[in-house]
Amino acid sequence: MKTARVFLVLALIGLLAACAPAAAPATPAGPATLTVMTHDSFAVSEELIRQFEQENNVTLVFAKSGDTGAAVNLAVLSKDAPRADVFYGVDNTFLSRALEAGIFEPYASPLLADIPAEFKLDPANGALPVDYGDVCINYDKAYFAGKGLAVPASLDDLLKPEYRGLLVTENPATSSPGLAFLMATIAQYGPEGYLAYWQGLVDNGLVVASDWETAYYTNFSGSSGKGAQPMVVSYGSSPAAEVIFADPPREDAPTASIVGDNACFRQIEFVGILKGTQQRALAEKFVDFMLGTAFQEDMPLQMFVFPVNSQAQLPDVFARNVQIPAKPATLDPARINANREAWINAWTEVVLK
């Protein structure tokens, strides 16, 4: 009786194993396959992808490979035996590493004509700009209104005693927005002055979380987590997402961004054709597709980033709830690549000690 039960267990497990997705993939001989390696945050409308697949008789496979740093690192590590034909998602903080490793084949897409020069950071056109976004401090509107407190306008303001203990940021060693905010302070105060600024923030009760999820959902009072800090280092587009994913529905965002000069760091994301691809023609078509208006207008609502193509229109909810900084902070990618580790280590010594 008991043995029968054990066999029943084994049979059931076998059954489960049999219906594993293992049995599923039998690649049809028809369309070619184009593999796109990307980071976990990549998102796109199904409709657009199906359309591209039909028009070009191709099957698109997306290989999501961790966050931006992990994905870039993997692409560099596997450059001798590339895992994909196209790589999307390297940003300006990791661009130099990808370019130095020489993972991309140049491609001068005709659509580059519609993209402003400020986004084109690779003159060789190995990496082509796709989107940008700003890492900004978001604040809880209700908190500041309720306390009758003025919203800080600049990085300097954050050192004022009235904002003591109100800001949560992320560890730049473990979080991409955390790193971007560190870059903003370096752009503003220079490599000589940024540590003194951070010491000031620490003295003023700065809270540091390990990752964006914790900072936003556990510490930030403007999110569903109802935390204790009314200011968080997040994205300039987060207020729009708070409206789109609001529950219950609402018209205006409960949060907004502080967009003073150099208070936001601009992240630009790039796409490139991986060296050694057997599908060069299709890869070019896909790059053109990403730079074209249909995809560019789809991006904001899928990935909460902004189109670089000047012909693309922003959705209404973005136009109403998102402030785009007039003067975002930027740093030369080569300089970031050369100093990233040293900057982070120095930051760790000052802030986390």
């Binding site: 997705p21 993939p25 999501k64 690192n73 209700a142 009314p230």
Partner: protein, 560 residues
């Protein structure tokens, strides 16, 4: 002479499959990462030993503390589960297993919902005593790390020690009592020595789990605490400093090996063979007030520590916070099923939308495959371990090594090594259950091997003498005795696979996401709806897991 010759190849046969498995799926990828680390080392003094020793010291410190605390909670619970019958026991045992599968992000969120500055407990206390600041400040402290480790791993102690305790022959203790030994002396001189292998196994597994803890330290401990595993992650994926990541990985593996060897030395003698007991023979209803106090206390402790965060999670998934923000105590709530409904809607027509049923199906398929792989290999390895062989002493700690390998290192290795058909990380879906099996295998071996060792030879001989074929003897003698341990192993493999995220996030193809992957997807974007859906998905994960465990236990006829 002939007998000796025949014995050696047989043990080698048994070792064959598990060792080939480890060689291909563990040492090969690991070796690839180490080779990359060495290749990319430009030379010179890259290493500052402080960067290695500081996290190493903290890793040992928090793992030791966590293990002691986990044992302090788990041992009385294991005793109560093994010795007493009380209403709701079965449900409570399933509930205490659930924390094991929860992704850390979700645990962080549910701890926050319970203990955070605006969590339920703090709001309650603030309202009750008119306080202005939240009285409980546990997040981002060592306390949060310890609490989370106890939350995660108590089930290991309950299951491993509990099943061994239930398997003990009660007549031995009864004999000691009859001969005049006090209960304390019986415990010290009869029960504990008999339990030693299980106790050591449980302590070792818990310690290694805490030792390689990643998410808990990163998310609940906050940025001021870094274990080796956290440092490896930072160095490998953020700083792109592969040489240092490689060195840290090597240190972590060496420590794991040393701890495992030490543990098997302490284990020393082989387990005492025990005659098989009837199910439920050792359990009794709660009678005296002392027993009532003990059982009541344990149940209360488990409910407070393990079940209340789960309940907070479930509650949060059906609670809508009203938009009144910013005021203390003004967080009002209403009940809603919207988050669950929304899970089934692909509102933005996204290519990567995950239908919850499909994610659950993927998770279950991976978990089922993991159970098959790890149980099959684990049974072979356990059988091999129970044959007298010198090699065992060295091979056993080897089996435990995967527990000490960082998910980051292994994930990187998988992707670097398995990049062409047929073993292509992109298209070979078995790689995910294989990665899960690497983690599950030590659990299976550590539960199965002691059980196999406890089968009395006399019974097998008796069966043979009475004319039973070897197969029949195995089916009717061996199998019933190891069935309980096999069941425990199956539950562990199942839960390990369901909750695993680290390796999965590297290997999962967007087309077949698991439940934890889906949860992370929701939490990576702002908005109340995303948060609510993540909580709903996590609650679904809990339900799926609870059902899975109940089915496994029911089919196995488990009653302890």
């Amino acid at each position: 002479m002939r007998a000796a010759l025949r014995r050696v190849p047989r043990a080698a046969w048994l070792w064959g499959a598990p060792l080939v498995f480890l060689a291909v799926f563990f040492f090969l990828p690991l070796g690839a990462v180490f080779r990359l680390a060495v290749e990319s080392w430009a030379g010179g003094t890259l290493f500052n030993w402080g960067r290695v020793l500081r996290p190493l010291g903290f890793t040992f410190w928090q793992a030791g503390l966590s293990t002691l605390l986990t044992l302090a909670v788990g041992l009385p619970a294991a005793y109560v589960f093994a010795r007493f019958e009380f209403p709701g026991k079965r449900l409570l045992r399933v509930l205490t297993t659930l924390p094991f599968i929860l992704p850390t992000v979700v645990v962080a969120a549910s701890f926050n919902a319970l203990l955070g500055p605006r969590g339920g407990l703090n709001l309650l206390l603030m309202n009750a005593f008119g306080l202005d600041t939240p009285p409980i400040q546990v997040l981002n402290t060592l306390g949060a790390i310890l609490l989370a480790h106890v939350f995660y791993n108590t089930t290991v102690v309950i299951r491993v020690v509990g099943s061994a305790l239930a398997q003990l022959d009660p007549r031995l203790e009864q004999a000691a009592r009859v001969l005049g030994a006090s209960p304390l002396r019986t415990l010290r001189e009869v029960t504990l020595p008999l339990l030693k292998p299980a106790l050591l196994s449980a302590a070792l597994l818990v310690f290694l789990f805490d030792f390689t803890s990643f998410g808990v330290v990163l998310l609940l401990g906050g940025p001021r605490y870094a274990t080796l595993e956290v440092e490896i992650y930072i160095q490998a994926l953020q700083m792109l400093n592969l040489p240092l990541a490689g060195l840290l990985s090597a240190v972590q593996l060496a420590c794991t090996l040393a701890i495992s060897v030490l543990n098997s030395r302490l284990g020393g003698r082989r387990a005492v063979p025990l005659s098989p007991r009837l199910r439920g023979e050792g359990t009794r209803p709660v009678k005296t007030w002392r027993e009532r106090l003990l059982v009541g206390g344990v149940v209360f402790l488990l409910a407070a520590l393990l079940v209340s965060p789960l309940a907070a999670l479930g509650l949060r998934s059906v609670t809508r916070l009203e938009p009144a923000r910013g005021e203390r105590g003004a967080v009002q709530s209403g009940l809603t099923l919207d988050y669950y409904r929304e899970l089934f809607v692909n509102r933005r027509g996204s290519l990567f939308y995950v239908p919850p049923i499909e994610a659950a199906r993927n998770s279950l398929a991976y978990a089922g495959t993991t159970v098959v792989i790890s149980l099959a290999l684990g049974a072979l390895a356990s059988a091999a371990l129970n044959r007298p062989s010198r090699a065992n002493r060295w091979l056993e700690p080897l089996l435990l090594l995967p527990l000490g390998a960082s998910a980051v290192t292994l994930g990187l290795g998988f992707i670097v090594v398995f990049n062409r058909p047929p073993l292509d990380a992109r298209s070979f879906p078995l790689l995910i259950p294989i990665a899960h099996s690497l983690v599950a295998l030590p659990f299976v071996v550590r539960t199965l091997a002691p059980a196999m060792a406890s089968i009395p030879r006399s019974l097998k001989h008796a069966a043979a003498v009475l004319g039973a074929s070897p197969l029949r003897a195995w089916l009717e003698v061996d199998l019933p005795i190891i069935a309980r341990a096999a069941l425990v192993s199956a539950v562990f493999s199942f839960t390990i696979s369901l909750g695993e995220f680290g390796a999965t996030s590297f290997l999962a193809r967007p087309a077949t996401p698991t439940l934890p992957v889906a949860i992370y997807r929701f939490l990576s974007q702002p908005g109340g709806l995303n948060y609510g859906q993540a909580m709903a998905m996590a609650t679904l994960l809990l339900l799926v897991c609870a059902l899975g465990i109940l089915v496994i236990e029911r089919l196995g006829g488990e009653t302890i």
